[in-house]
Symmetry: C2
């Protein structure tokens, strides 16, 4: 090793869009880092700081980004690897541990810790009520790294268990049919009256939230910035005059 001191890696979540959701822990760790590593739009959210190095990368190179962060730590740097949402939920933390597991044995001794953040489903839920107020599951619809048959199996199990369902990565430019396939599957297993929420760009200036039912909703409105929530059989809509309804899932079920 050429460096006289040990580096550290902090994997940090900024939350979705609104800086008021960045925790003090995250802000402090970012301020104290010698190097910031991340996907460009996340780094752009962080004010420049004199002497702090920035290493930005594209969206589809998660393993490269994780390994870059680990190599910088080897050089004695204090690295903040910055992610949107919660890095522990469908994000960079798993990529880092994959890189550690498959990398140099010395990487297992690196001082690494995860700093949680508000995840997109929590922000989306907060905007319209409390749809995640009872048992729920979170499923990534991306089939880049898993077979579509596993997505179908999990959607069916989620319907069988009557979970509220949050869908991450629901749209794919390469495979635009997938979101339609997912809704077709769920329509065969759940009531058409089930509330469905599309929360787009939550916490950003162009945020839009729409509420529909499983029978009426148009899956083609979903894009890559959309978080989808599909209710359980218990999820309710509270109508309001002149305002969007509330959507919530009660804490219990009548026996």
């Amino acid at each position: 090793m050429t460096s006289p001191r040990a580096g550290s890696l902090r994997i940090i979540g900024l939350g979705p869009g609104d800086d008021a959701w960045i925790t003090p822990e995250a802000s402090d760790l970012i301020a104290g880092a010698s190097d910031l590593v991340g996907y460009a739009p996340y780094l752009e959210r962080i004010p420049a700081r004199e002497g702090q190095m920035r290493h930005q990368s594209g969206n589809r190179v998660e393993m490269d980004r994780a390994r870059l962060a680990l190599r910088l730590v080897e050089e004695g740097r204090s690295v903040a690897l910055v992610s949107g949402g919660d890095p522990g939920v469908f994000a960079m933390a798993a990529a880092v541990f994959e890189a550690i597991e498959g990398g140099k044995p010395a990487w297992r001794d690196i001082d690494v810790a995860v700093c949680p953040g508000i995840s997109a489903m929590q922000a989306a839920a907060a905007r319209i009520g409390a749809p995640l107020g009872h048992d729920f599951c979170a499923i990534s619809l991306s089939d880049n790294r898993k077979p579509w048959s596993l997505v179908e199996k999990r959607l069916a199990a989620a319907a069988e268990g009557d979970f509220v369902i949050a869908l991450y990565n629901p749209a794919s430019i390469a495979r635009p049919q997938r979101i339609h396939d997912a809704f077709a599957l769920l329509r065969g297993l759940k009531s058409g009256q089930t509330p469905v929420v599309f929360a787009r760009a939550v916490g950003r200036a162009d945020e839009t939230i729409s509420i529909a039912t499983l029978a009426s909703v148009d899956p083609s409105l979903v894009d890559m910035s959309t978080l989808v929530i599909i209710g359980s059989s218990q999820t309710k809509t509270i109508a309001r005059k002149g305002k969007a309804p509330f959507v919530y899932t009660p804490r219990g079920v009548d026996p």
Copy 2:
């Protein structure tokens, strides 16, 4: 109405234990409230502020607390209803919307919004790696307000779908057998080598984290402050010399 001005209700999550996880949004809303309402241990985390009223209550009176908050808003107060974790996840937000749905029609017009927080499963996951790095579900084991048969159905569906499972409210003084029943059910459906994490009092001074396997773990160690995470078939443990292992779920599955 006797009040000349309209009140508002903000349902706020402090996150689990560590104040470094309280978002700036939450801090600002708490600082600006005329009245704080909450379970006593959560209110005790908030510094006193001159002129700000406090209304603390016990743990098992969620609906009373929600209605108190709504009545204060009717009187024109700016109410911060404070919860641990994320109020939208197994917490106070659903109770408020239940109270609104079942209460006076005018309550539907109240200015109410939810402020999300870090939930216990996110903090627990961050402490040991990235076990929630891929598809997961969250289940409350409490059968205070739902039949145990529904808990069993959801545990079985979660195993069938090969989800990572986060268990909230896993222990009950009134029904200490429940956590044993849940583990017995899961042991019949999942590999004994599945990683299991018990995260107790995360973010508090007495935090303890333990990692075991489904076959070896002792469910009697679970108490009401414990968040339980049970891996999917893909969840891995990375051994380290002289340190606790990392636990993570990869972002994909080999086709």
